[in-house]
Subunit: 118 residues, 2 copies
Amino acid sequence: MAPSAPHQKLWVETDGQLVMSDYRVRLLELVGETGSLADAASALGLSYRRAWGKVKEIEANLGRSLVRSEVGGAGGGRTALTPEAEELVAAYRRFQERVEQDIEGAYDAELRDLLTPP
Amino acid sequence: MAPSAPHQKLWVETDGQLVMSDYRVRLLELVGETGSLADAASALGLSYRRAWGKVKEIEANLGRSLVRSEVGGAGGGRTALTPEAEELVAAYRRFQERVEQDIEGAYDAELRDLLTPP
């Protein structure tokens, strides 16, 4: 039997309002990776409209622009992350990694033995 | 405006199976506090049947008895946590507290400045 393992979901609130989460960061990250909001939406099983709305909501909550459209070129337009969004995604990933390591440590110290089936 | 703050949901899986979570620990804790599965269920807005099923599921996943019935007495029977369940609840609470502190630290180090509205 595999050992038990801790899992977590993380998010950030300001005044009770969700401003960032694992899921939202993944959406932004996919925009950066694919250069396309449509592709990012599709990868998450969201409609383009829904993904666009989410990005605009995050921008409104943070008071910052996170994506910018680059018009033209051979394949039509692209959507790119702003430098602020790239910084935010990278910082959130560092935050997640630190937390995951911390959780493993706390789990080993407090719970692993108790939750490993006899 | 209030500062932004990190939040988390924690749980434990074994072989992809949920074996413990914030919610389940709260259910067990309420049984211990109230001495009654019916009262614990009611406090969480669960039916008695649902709460009983959850406790039995946790016991099955862990291979341990977590509650015991104490028959009789003036007010009828009571339900109490087993010593193993009490230990588990206490250990999970310590795990949560450590993680919350760790998350605050990771958040301060990586994200707080970026997510505080300008």
